[in-house]
């Protein structure tokens, strides 16, 4: 299947359209809420909650006996929230650290969920098959009503986020100040956390337990590299998330035997790697380039200062000296010398160099004027 054919299919094929829309919306809402998780240093919360949701799904099934996805997601939501608040309880009331609390809740809830699932499988009820799709996720099982559900939840998230934007923002960056303003930090906190749990639960069906945390983190981590503004970051993360969803679905649809979840995660990971390397202000590439440039400047200045030291000992500052003199000096290279000539700091006559007036002035003021001189 080539690309154009695929685009046509997205508009004509019901299943593909549903899945593409679903993953796009999921990616967007995850990116949006993930930004808050990343900035609040709750990155692994997603991983813990997505595992903690499993027993809820199983219990919801045990109680209702039905496989209605909304009921199961409600169960997931409840147990995800219980897990979250237990994590908080462990962190605030004991000396166990957050990583231990996360790991604990994650593994214990998930193990309990597995126990329930195997217990359910032994039940004489033909209806139980398919519960384990929540473990690894199956985008293909998305139907239109699921997508509507996602869209509605995303809409609510968006409205709440815009309404409480200021409060969210201030809580993120200065929670003490938030308290002094008289805002109820607990309520805002619970609101954010509940939305994060909600987003995770929504994603379970599509990408599964293990990969859900990446859906939450990757777009946000990528977006973080491009901006220092929260609004831009949330917006970018939503875009990255939606793109990962669409591109991931497209790739997995164009090949056989390629599950959607992992592909979406890998596409999101590509976004992250790209952002890590190429973002202009924080990226590794430009950082390295800046580093090299700074080092060259420093070497140039070092050479100039060294020359200045030599020239100072003579009455005539433009007195020529042998290039040989520089040979033992570490900052000196042929090209750095040439650069000094280009800048008209130094003149070269055969094997001799001499400082010009400007060169001498610059060198004399190198250390006290460094900051303003720096270009």
């Amino acid at each position: 299947m080539d690309f154009i054919e695929y685009i046509e299919l997205v508009f004509t094929d019901y299943t593909l359209r549903t899945i593409t829309l679903g993953t796009a919306i999921l990616g967007a809402v995850c990116g949006m809420l993930g930004s808050f998780a990343v900035l609040r240093k709750q990155s692994l919360l997603g991983d813990a909650i997505s595992h903690a949701a499993l027993p809820g799904i199983a219990i919801a099934f045990l109680i209702t006996g039905a496989k209605d996805s909304n009921t199961l997601l409600l169960g997931a939501l409840v147990s995800g929230l219980i897990g979250t608040f237990w994590i908080r309880g462990i962190v605030t009331k004991t000396h166990l650290k957050s990583d231990t609390a996360l790991g604990l809740i994650l593994s214990l809830f998930f193990g309990f969920g597995m126990l329930l699932l195997t217990f359910i499988q032994k039940q004489p009820n033909a209806n139980q098959a398919g519960l384990d799709k929540y473990l690894f996720g199956q985008a293909a099982t998305l139907v239109e009503s699921d997508v509507w559900m996602m869209a509605i939840v995303t809409g609510i998230c968006l409205i709440v986020m815009l309404t409480f934007w200021k409060e969210f923002k201030i809580l993120l960056f200065d929670s003490d100040y938030t308290k002094t303003l008289g805002l109820n930090t607990k309520t805002i906190d619970i609101l954010i956390t509940s939305f994060i749990v909600l987003a995770i639960v929504l994603g379970l069906q599509t990408v599964g337990v293990v990969l859900m945390s990446a859906m939450l983190l990757a777009p946000a981590a990528a977006a973080r590299q491009w901006t220092n503004s929260l609004a831009v970051m949330v917006f970018l993360a939503a875009i990255f998330g939606a793109f990962s969803g669409v591109v991931g679905t497209a790739i997995s649809a164009s090949q056989n035997n390629l599950s959607t979840g992992p592909v979406i995660v890998l596409v999101a990971a590509v976004f992250v790697v790209f952002s890590f390397i190429f973002s202009p202000s924080r990226g590794l590439l430009f950082k390295q380039i800046r580093f090299i440039k700074n080092r060259r400047d420093l070497e140039l200045h070092k050479t100039l200062a060294f020359m200045h030291n030599i020239a100072e000992t003579h009455e005539d500052i433009s007195h020529p000296h042998a290039i040989r003199l520089l040979n033992n000096f570490q900052g000196y290279t042929k090209s750095s010398l040439q650069k000094l000539v280009d800048k008209d700091y130094v003149q070269i006559n055969g094997n001799m160099w001499s400082l010009t007036e400007t060169g001498f002035d610059i060198a004399a003021n190198l250390y006290n004027k460094q900051t303003t001189e720096d270009e």
Partner: protein
């Protein structure tokens, strides 16, 4: 009890002990989530090993998987060092990506062979006794028994050899470095042991149980003691108990063994979390309440000292003017009276000499804020000790 049952319990206990030892150090070093990351990210290692050897039982699989685990740790550290994201985000980015690669490799290439994500991730202890190790025609026991046993033996040997080094580098990296043992070597050593243990145990019991067995016993033990040796012992005890008891729960419910062992671990942790003598949630809540009453008492005594007029010292005044609830003001009054700090005559409260002295000292303490003052006070006036 059949021999298969015995073998399962034996393997489960060995896994529990093998996990509890590195788990204790992971919990102490605040790296518990690394075990979760490793347990997922070793998938591509297993898959590549499987493609090379076409044999799920080849030792190469374990080797490659353990290597992937170490690569995960290195990658996480590298990303963290770039300063672009925080450590937890780095973990959260690395392991799903590696896991995804593993899942895709399985989906693309292993359709016609027996390799299933569920099987790899969930594990099934019940099948362990069927996979025998046969040497020279004699059956010497289940294969996972030997794998886990070897890993446990190595772990225990390393633990005894490097106990001091591990201890120092866990609690004080700077001191360890200045004493001449490299914290980096200890770190990577621990990571390697964790990685190998995860892989070995994972083969027998599945990924999630490995994480649970590493973190839960250590966390429960940490709530009970601060002594490293005791903590190790308790963690091993909790792990083994849960392994054996969990097996019988599974037997009784006819459900997944890994799931029920985890559930028992969860219950053990919950019990400790609730009832641990000083760190448990009930003890903490009780202490917090005591402290609140203690502070209220002090506030009340200061109030009495500052007010001579009778209207301010009426018993009812407490909940009318200071806005305390009835029960609370009564408990404060009772406490003060019991400690001979106040006298109540005709519903008018006044400080006794002792109360007066105490309050003066308390004011001194509040003004100077020196710890020595409060130490004196503790000796002179017990609040909840007497």
């Amino acid at each position: 009890m059949s021999s298969a049952q015995l073998e399962i319990q034996l393997i489960a206990s060995l896994v529990a002990v093998a996990c509890a030892i590195p788990g204790t150090f992971l919990v102490l070093r605040k790296m518990a989530m690394i075990s979760d990351a490793i347990s997922h990210s070793i998938l591509p290692g297993i898959v590549i090993g499987f493609f090379i050897t076409n044999d799920l039982n080849s030792p190469l699989l374990i080797l490659l998987a353990a290597l992937t685990g170490i690569i995960t740790v290195i990658l996480v550290e590298y990303i963290q060092k770039t300063g672009l994201v925080k450590e937890d985000t780095a973990i959260g980015l690395v392991f799903p990506a590696l896991f995804s690669i593993g899942v895709i490799m399985i989906a693309k290439n292993a359709n016609d062979v027996h390799l299933d994500v569920d099987a790899v991730l969930l594990g099934e202890l019940a099948f362990a006794p069927f996979d025998r190790l046969v040497i020279g025609g004699t059956d010497v026991g289940p294969k996972s028994f030997w794998i886990v046993g070897t890993i446990l033996l190595i772990t225990v040997t390393l633990l005894f050899t490097f106990f001091k080094e591990l201890k120092v580098s866990t609690f004080d990296k700077g001191l360890a470095a200045s004493l001449g043992f490299s914290p980096a070597i200890m770190h990577y050593g621990l990571m390697s042991v964790s990685s190998v243990t995860t892989v070995g145990a994972f083969d027998a019991v599945g990924a999630i149980l490995v994480v649970a067995l590493m973190i839960a016993p250590a966390a429960a033990a940490y709530l009970l003691t601060k002594d490293l040796k005791k903590m190790l012992g308790l963690a091993i005890g909790f792990g083994t108990f849960s392994a054996i008891f969990g097996y019988w729960v599974a037997h009784w419910l006819d459900a997944s063994i890994a799931g029920s062992i985890t559930t028992v671990l969860g219950l053990v942790f919950l019990m400790v979390y609730l009832f641990a003598p000083t760190k448990g949630i009930i003890a903490v809540l009780y202490r917090e309440r005591q402290q609140r009453t203690e502070v209220s008492l002090l506030t009340f005594l200061l109030h009495l000292k500052n007010h001579d007029e009778e209207s301010e010292r009426h018993v009812k005044h407490l909940n009318e003017h200071i806005n305390w609830q009835k029960v609370r003001s009564k408990s404060v009054l009772d406490l003060a009276q019991k400690n001979n700090m106040i006298l109540i005559e005709n519903n008018i409260v006044s400080l006794t000499q002792k109360g007066d002295e105490f309050t003066s000292k308390a004011i001194d303490y509040i003004i100077t804020n020196e710890d020595t003052q409060i130490e004196d006070m503790k000796d002179d006036f017990f609040l909840f000790r007497g």
